[in-house]
Symmetry: C2
Amino acid sequence: MAKSIFYHAGCPVCVSAENDIIELIGETQVDIIHLGEETTRIKEAESAGVKSVPALVTPKGHVLHINFGASLDDLKN
Amino acid sequence: MAKSIFYHAGCPVCVSAENDIIELIGETQVDIIHLGEETTRIKEAESAGVKSVPALVTPKGHVLHINFGASLDDLKN
């Protein structure tokens, strides 16, 4: 099965959600991307439909915005 | 392992998120509660920290608000 991608920005809300997602779906099933560090991937996240972090993009390409840490626009500045 | 609880209200955003969650964590790992039909459980959801649906409460009791369908307050009216 294709992996999900979890986008975050290191915020407390993000870290908490990351731990929960890893527990729920398993560490091997998800790639974790820190958009604060990997800023070149913000565009990719945006194209996938991510509006804010933390967010999980499923193998089918659906975006699940989980709680709210920061908007993607804020990460660009 | 204890199950997660997925609270929803039958809205399109809820149904889409429900399908994604079932695919990600497996149908046997999550109880699905329709708060529009089981209104007596709104209080339980509220106590767990659910503010809006769809939301997933993890076995650890953490609340993941997934996208946004409706606020819990709207379901009371």
